[in-house]
Chain length 436, copies 2
């Protein structure tokens, strides 16, 4: 079933002529037809348009065989707060019902230039903020949330509907859904991927990232986006790694399944010969989630002011309420939070720079029951505020039989090394050795 291929494998087969983009896209569409009535990952998809794009990719392959992009013919899902010129972009907002942007977001342009086929738009929390929740369910248990706000992107990749998808993270909106759905998720260092054409919420925090079913796929996209600064790094031997275990000040919120998963990962790393030690963030890195909340709310007041002025009737009360709270906090609170965060970044890079990566929970535990709560971002917000690159590494399972995701975090701009370490850890959690 080509829809189960990783992007690396699919791109290789397409380039070699062993698979057509059309066959791959048709397999994805068939999977969506079979499963999306239940999973509800996609808010917009036009099979005929997707097939036409795939056919065009197949034609171009014949004409320009020597200069194919690294994603040639590979389908990608796009979170619906990211603009697409040939598909609606509705932000799960009543204000944007039927909205058609005139241009692609920067990341969509880069994907298309790399040869990707944009398959459709995926469900999101309203403006990836605090409004309406998506209808998407967790593909592993329809009674549970897939996490949010990049709900549809994580669920679509987890359900083998598409090999790659794009999301955004302001609090924990990439890493947490990745954990709940059991896929790899990557939030690059802040600022390395243009967020032009994605709906702003909190520019200090907003980061574009992506999902895949393999660490190598995350790296493929990192190369396309020049995130890795030209460096390449093969997956290191597990025995060569130095990993810091960072339980954070929020460890009491980790559920038993997450505690077991962290212990399992630590045990396997040690068994493989890795150096593993506990890392405490210390007082200079305390209360980062509180600072994140201040930044998010006060910047959110700026980001949504136009909608509050123009269409207050159609903006969800959760957003309006937080804007009022931000007015109470005032700009002085923002300055204080930004300055503390800037100093914390320097401190964190120094601390984490001694390790290949820090290992920390990607979420409290398994996906919670119900769709009204997309889960707690408490193990995510601090890293987002630190601008640190983060990866969800799947592979472990919790007491309810659902995925448990661990998170690797590195100093800013060490994205290439982090993704290489994620490949090694992913193989270790899956029981294999990535270095062969």
């Amino acid at each position: 079933m080509p829809n189960r291929l990783t992007a690396v494998d699919a791109a290789r087969r397409i380039a070699a002529g062993d698979l057509t983009s059309e066959a791959l896209v048709r397999a994805c569409l068939a999977r969506i037809a079979a499963r999306d009535a239940e999973v509800k990952a996609w808010c917009w998809i036009d099979p005929a348009q997707a097939i036409a794009a795939a056919r065009e990719a197949d034609t171009r392959r014949l004409l320009d065989a020597g200069k194919l992009g690294p994603l040639h013919g590979v389908p990608v899902g796009i979170k619906d707060i990211i603009d697409t010129a040939d598909m609606p972009t509705q932000h799960n907002s009543r204000i944007f019902r039927g909205h058609r942007p005139a241009r692609d977001a920067a990341c969509v342009t880069i994907l298309r230039a790399a040869g990707a086929v944009i398959l459709g738009k995926t469900e999101t929390v309203e403006f990836a903020s605090h409004g309406r929740n998506p209808v998407t369910v967790n593909p592993h248990d329809f009674a549970r949330t897939p996490g949010g706000s990049s709900s549809g992107s994580a669920a679509a990749v987890a359900a083998d509907m598409v090999p790659l998808s794009f999301g955004t993270q302001t609090g924990g909106s990439i890493i947490r859904p990745g954990a709940f759905c059991g896929v790899y998720g990557f939030k690059p260092t802040h600022g390395l991927v243009s967020s032009e054409g994605a709906k702003p919420f909190s520019p200090t925090l907003d980061t574009i990232g992506w999902y895949a079913r393999s660490a190598a796929d995350l790296r493929l996209l990192a190369d396309v986006f020049e995130v890795a600064d030209g460096t390449t790094a093969p997956a290191p031997a597990a025995g060569s790694l130095r990993i810091g275990i960072c339980r954070t000040e929020y460890w009491s919120r980790a559920e038993p399944g997450m505690r077991d998963a962290m212990a399992t990962a630590e045990r396997r790393l040690r068994a493989a010969g890795a150096q593993v030690e506990d890392v405490a963030l210390g007082p200079a890195l305390a209360a980062l989630n509180d600072l994140k909340e201040t930044v998010m709310r006060v910047e959110g007041r700026v980001a949504f002011l136009d909608l509050e002025r123009a269409r207050p009737d159609l903006l969800s009360p959760g957003i309006v309420k937080r804007m009022a709270d931000a007015r109470q906090r005032g700009h002085g609170a923002l300055r204080d939070a930004l300055d503390r965060a800037a100093v914390a970044r320097i401190e964190f890079d120094r601390l984490a720079g001694a390790f290949d990566a820090l290992l920390t929970p990607a979420a409290n535990g398994e996906a919670p029951l119900g769709l009204t709560f997309t889960g707690d971002p408490i193990f995510n917000g601090l890293w987002t505020l630190l601008h640190a690159p983060c990866v969800t590494v799947p592979g472990l399972v919790g007491p309810a039989g659902l995925p448990i995701g661990l998170q690797l975090v590195a100093p800013r701009y060490r994205d290439a090394r982090l993704l290489a370490v994620a490949e090694t850890l992913g193989a270790l959690l899956a029981g294999a050795d990535a270095t062969r």
Copy 2:
């Protein structure tokens, strides 16, 4: 001639029924018809559309007299890197020729919600970056640049074609054209005005701001955009002020006309009873323009990657060359510059917090001859990097008979106080006393 009214006066007269928006817009259009063949401030304007919008404002005034926005019926010019749904947005780029955005930029939505009439689009440097220069000339001397990149916005206000206009600053693109054209320009604290729908160049630096012919007009817009955090501050008595004179490490680049202007301002402040003292930025605040250049180039590489991938043939060589340079510098240089800038912000706020404002050059001197060089941003970039609010205060004249602009700078989020001080200084430079 209503086109010479300030925005405050025009809004007051329109609200009172002493002036119609249509009469005001027609006066602006007549001025544009008479002068813009030479000044070339506007890259797009449709008189019929502007008059229709003004008429609609006049009708709404009759129907909703009790709930008029603070800018009801007042025309505003918009720099052409800012999206408008009912006008083209072309960025002075061959890639965007004829481009029509589907939505207004956030600042345009807020302006319209406040009752403003969007008059047309103003000339800009390509993407407000390093590409094609605009055709706009300085309204005071057609052989000279109006400055850039917000060239058309500054020139249009200076030439009495419109009372208000919007621009953006990444280096010195608001403050410097304001100085060269002899108008007030305001760059708010970074992050207080949403830049959604304005073309990104360097998100750490990009800031939306505006031009007017009075300090009170700057404050009117600051209130509309909630920049002042709810505080109001009347123009203080000049004798109550404590002003720091900050010549910066770049003082040797100040021309004789600027040196005279700074001396004149200092003399008048002292004569009015203000406390005036020299302020040195010190080693912690040295070389900020070099850091700004690094941030701008490395972030510019991210911002323009989509266009480089999709349309390299139509992107100006100046931009492509700087992207190549940014790849050489690498992400490590960005991290270093961002961290130094963050620490410098804390240091600067402490230093400048002892004063009502710092007084510093807005540019090297008068507008240079020719249109190939929009002038040196050396007295601007450092403040942009510091995220400090800045105002161009006009009123003085240089040896060639052209405007010389001074600049007031304050710690972050002290925008309201800064604008009040600008009103006092402006009156002092114009020879009157703003406090009556």
